[in-house]
Symmetry: C2
Subunit: 177 residues, 2 copies
DNA sequence: TAATTGATTAGAAATGTATCGAAACACTAT
DNA sequence: ATAGTGTTTCGATACATTTCTAATCAATTA
């Protein structure tokens, strides 16, 4: 985790990005890079040494010059490899829910009630979030809230109860999960 | 280019990485995150707003809370997408050369002379770099330099001439490309 | 409308880091 | 050896950024 942050910090600098782009084209050395970027050799050296100790670049002496080259492997990882802590597992269940929701809602409204039970549960739950848990709602109030999402408040209200998301007791509705 | 640097800067911060990891698990809101990370809501707000304006997270009001969620698309790109300027094309030729070199050199010495002409040219050129262009070398001197890489200096010297990398004129050798 | 709660902004303190000039270092050539 | 060339280190400065407290804003509830 620490290393990942270090790598990100290294990459998050204008000058170092310029240097990396030069090395992407061809190996080079301190003075040459300094000249290309209009900075002093001291500055370029400072950046290259920093990147070297993080394993981003390598260097080797060749006659007069110390030639720096890229360690290209590092850049092949996708970005999330760098941001996610090792203990986080990508939640495919959550991803699936997001996809279902984005398929069935358009401009904040439910385009149709899914026929598949699993998907129906997901979109109903999405609407259910508008209700507070344990607060008492009148039927009219419930209908109005559902109407914001779909005209068939009747089916949706009934289904929410069928899924055990809501209870109904003498015209009083309550969200329960 | 500017945006890429901005994104990298955003990601290169301990606290923001923590926040992103929380949002990776589930959507959340300012106070809750502040509590989890033992920081003030003001600080969390500062980071979230920053990330929002860069399109890394989105927010929407839900009753009391303003719920922040990740824009997951952003993290799917490989890292080099973020470092390379748009005008740089990845040099596959260069990559290939690097691979050949790393296959045939071990601990700075040539393990064997490649039989494939293309590969042989690449490793010979690698050794050739030890010579300065246009300087005159005696045969003994040439042999010594090649010996640093491989015992069969005779074959290598002859091949360098055959490839037109060196010229020989009355025992005087010159690197020409 | 007033009170409550969460979110945001402003200003200040503290920290971190890029850059430079100058000096020291390392290798090469004469 | 000594001069020349390129590299690295050091110390100082300038600038950017994180974090906090306190005040303000915005939505909700009584």
């Amino acid at each position: 985790m620490k290393e990942k942050l270090e790598l990100l910090k290294l990459l998050a600098d204008q000058t170092r990005l310029e240097i990396l782009n030069i090395l992407l084209k061809e190996d080079s050395y301190v003075e040459k890079i300094a000249c290309e970027l209009s900075l002093t050799p001291a500055t370029i050296c400072y950046h290259l040494k920093k990147m070297e100790s993080a394993g981003v670049v390598n260097c080797s002496r060749s006659q007069f010059y110390i030639i720096y080259s890229l360690n290209r492997d590092i850049f092949e990882k996708p970005l999330y490899e760098l941001i996610k802590k090792d203990d986080v597992v990508i939640d495919t269940e959550e991803k699936y829910k997001k996809e279902v929701i984005s398929n069935f809602f358009k401009y904040g409204r439910l385009t149709q009630i899914p026929t598949q039970r699993k998907k129906r549960e997901i979109v109903l739950f999405e609407i259910l979030k508008q209700f507070e848990i344990d607060r008492e709602y009148g039927e009219k109030e419930v209908n109005e809230i559902i109407l914001r999402y779909h005209e068939d408040f009747c089916t949706i209200r009934r289904e929410m109860i069928a899924f055990g998301m809501m209870t109904r007791d003498h015209e009083i509705y309550k969200r329960v999960k």
